[in-house]
């Protein structure tokens, strides 16, 4: 059984990332379940998806302390998911800050020490800078696929399996861009 959490901000493509992972896992013969929260996501709120795959999956939600991977598309969103980690979990974070509304309006401050705190407190972690990859892919909207590329280094699926899932899940005219984004993400992790 693998437990994977994607966390980000509305509009970052968290749900599509989880859908592609589910497709890969199902086509590899696993049972798979996922849970997501809709509704307010479009208004810039926090968004997360829990994905679980294995021989037989019951709960669509991951129990706290049992995530194998948390993939955060934003630094603050990583902080919100720490209770799902245990000593052997891995935290993967896109090194980006997006100010939430209370920070934009000056009511609160974006904590400036969370990256160093996470690095010091979490055993297995990978902080990636996706700027160059997004520039090369040509759009910031490719962030979700870049992050999947990063994650793919740690999961059991082949590049061919990922490629097939991406091809089947994104619009035809965006396939090449997304395959490039995936490759760039995959190389990004290997570079660390």
């Amino acid at each position: 059984m693998k437990n994977i959490i994607f966390a980000g901000v509305g509009g970052q493509g968290v749900i599509l990332a989880s859908k592609i992972l589910m497709e890969v896992a199902m086509n590899a013969g696993y049972d798979v379940k996922e849970s997501e929260v809709h509704g307010m996501a479009q208004r810039g709120g926090s968004v997360d998806c829990h994905v679980r795959y294995g021989e037989k999956v019951y709960s669509p939600l991951i129990e706290k302390g049992t995530a194998d991977y948390v993939i955060a598309f934003e630094l603050l969103e990583a902080m919100r998911k720490l209770e799902y980690l245990n000593g052997s979990s891995m935290l993967i974070v896109n090194n980006e800050k997006i100010d939430p509304a209370p920070v934009q309006t000056g009511l609160e401050k974006y904590p400036d020490d969370i990256e160093s705190w996470m690095k010091a407190s979490i055993g297995r972690h990978l902080f990636v800078d996706t700027e160059a990859a997004l520039k090369e892919a040509g759009t910031r909207r490719a962030l979700n696929i870049v992050m999947l590329g990063v994650l793919s280094n740690y999961l059991e699926f082949t590049v061919d399996q990922w490629t097939a899932a991406i091809r089947s899940m994104v619009k035809e005219k965006f396939i090449d861009m997304n395959l490039l984004a995936f490759k760039l993400g995959r190389e990004l992790a290997a570079a660390h």
């Binding site: 049972d31 379940k33 929260v37 509704g39 479009q42 302390g65």
Partner: protein, 518 residues
């Protein structure tokens, strides 16, 4: 058999398609919205529509059923409050073609104004209710609901929750049944509920509910999974999955037939285990029933009645297991990321003005309810769809003219069409003098940009008559109707000042397209 990963709501749509459903209607509402959207996108065999509200949707579906078609309405939990009137009497008339109501509860109130448990409706309206535990069962149960409806002449409610609607899972797809339209026979004794017809129908439905209990006892909707007899857990819905996850060695009675509940199976299970538990979200619906049968299960003393359940809540309650916390605690504050009005949102201009003028704002349901939060903090009452206008009149009745001069009602275009027209008639009829602002952003925005009668497009994108809000307001007797673009902030402010000052009813139609809309 073909397998596909589907969202719970898509699985419901698939079930309706496979059952040969031909008419479906809904009003958007999280977490139910994607059901009818999936039907419109994936299954053109079904005539699908947005109705102005859930009551109308259910009536359209009831009409289709009486006319002989398999038909389905979908709504969120509070939508069934709006549709409760037709529900309780279409329970009496029964059906012709199978009639199914998909009801999506929202434990946790992720995007709702309350956490009501709609299992109570099945009992109160005397209709059967079935409850899937996964997207795969959502497809299967929805499909079976249509035949069940026809077999017992009852509307059938399929109750799902946010964690079924918005979770994805592997679903095995079946073929569409070809179900011919049934004959429509003129049968006023069944379909016209004057008292003389209603009384014998009441007797009939009580008898049918007894037959349904017998059916429930013998059906595979309810299943016992015997493991250790030391502990047995009765559970339902998504809670079943959490129980299976964290208590793999316990015996489980899965209740898929939420109403009527199966006495014989419950008795067999309760007497077959040493310790009996009930794990259910929200109210102690099953637990109270089991208690009335004479058993003493552990339930709400351990399992919270508030919010949605999670695997760790069930794990802690039943296994006394604390979550693993390998990570030290970060002690400074992590700012929340609440949803906010988008940059450039037309509502933002409106609430900027209302805040500046320090008006009392009777609000309503939509994106604009976010104006209750900083930076606007400009909403002072809100309850249900359409409540803003009636409450606005109530404020004036209670506190007089000065209140009417210093307050407004604020309601979105879709919410106004849903439930705002009758209270506007009331405001005029009962000589209110208040100001109503219709936030006309030309779309049902919060639920993900659905069309409505004001947009001139149907669910499937066809052109249709575009409701003229200004003409409608004038027709109910509002003489002062102003249309203003709120982005012209100074003009908007002076219009609000003039209209609130005027001692007669007025409507300001704040017209500007949602910023996310092309």
């Amino acid at each position: 058999m073909q397998k596909k990963v589907l969202l719970g709501n898509e699985a419901v749509a698939r079930g309706a398609y496979e059952a040969g459903c031909t008419v479906a209607a809904a009003y958007p509402g999280t977490p139910s919205t994607e059901i009818i959207e999936s039907i419109a996108r994936d299954y053109p065999e079904i005539k699908a529509q947005w109705s102005p509200n859930e009551k109308v949707a259910l009536e359209v579906v009831a009409g289709a059923s009486v006319a002989g078609a398999r038909s389905m309405a979908a709504m969120k939990h509070v939508g069934l409050n709006v549709a409760a009137d037709p529900l309780f009497t279409f329970s009496y008339t029964g059906v012709n073609g199978g009639m199914v109501i998909i009801n999506a509860d929202d434990p946790g109130a992720w995007s709702s104004q309350n956490e009501q448990d709609n299992r109570h409706y099945a009992r109160a309206a005397k209709v059967p209710m079935i409850e899937p535990t996964s997207p795969a069962e959502a497809r299967e149960f929805t499909k079976r609901a249509f035949a069940l409806s026809e077999q017992f002449d009852r509307p059938v409610i399929v109750r799902i929750t946010t964690r079924i609607s918005h979770s994805q899972g592997v679903v095995e797809l079946g073929e569409r049944e070809n179900v011919p339209l049934k004959d429509f026979e003129r049968n006023p004794q069944k379909y016209v509920m004057i008292p003389a017809h209603a009384r014998p129908r009441h007797k009939f439905i009580e008898e049918q509910m007894l037959r349904l209990k017998e059916y429930s006892e013998n059906s595979d909707f309810n299943t016992i999974e015997w493991k250790s007899r030391k502990r047995g857990i009765i559970t339902n819905g998504v809670a079943y999955q959490y129980v299976k996850e964290v208590c793999p060695d316990d015996s489980v009675l899965k209740i898929g037939f939420a109403w009527p509940l199966p006495d014989r199976i419950i008795r067999e299970f309760a007497e077959g285990v040493e310790e009996l538990y009930v794990v259910e979200e929200l109210d102690p619906f099953i637990e109270d029933y089991v208690r009335a049968m004479g058993y003493a299960p552990k339930g709400k003393e351990l399992i919270p009645m508030l919010g949605e359940l999670t695997p760790e809540i069930v794990d802690m309650a039943l296994n006394k297991k604390k979550p693993l916390s390998a990570i030290p605690t970060y002690t400074s504050k992590i700012p929340a990321r609440p949803p906010a009005l988008c940059k450039g949102c037309p509502h933002g201009f409106v609430f900027g003005v209302l805040k500046k003028l320090n008006l009392v704002v009777n609000g309503d349901i939509g994106c604009y309810t976010l104006a209750v939060l900083p930076p606007y903090s400009a909403m002072h009452s809100q309850g249900c769809m359409g409540a803003s206008i009636g409450m606005h009149l109530g404020f004036e009745k209670a506190r007089g003219d000065e209140m009417a001069r210093n307050s407004v009602a604020v309601i979105g275009d879709s919410t106004f069409i849903h439930s705002g027209i009758t209270p506007l008639i009331d405001l005029v009829y009962n000589k209110g003098t208040g100001t109503v602002i219709i936030l006309d952003n030309r779309v049902t925005a919060m639920t993900g940009h659905q069309d409505n009668p004001g947009t001139g497009k149907t669910l499937t994108g066809e052109d249709t008559h575009e409701l003229d809000l200004e003409l409608l307001c004038r027709a109910v007797g509002v003489k002062r109707v102003r249309k203003v673009d709120p982005k012209n902030v100074e003009e908007f402010e002076s219009v609000v000042r003039e209209e609130t000052a005027a001692p007669e009813p007025s409507v300001i139609i704040s017209t500007r397209k949602c910023i996310l809309r092309k």
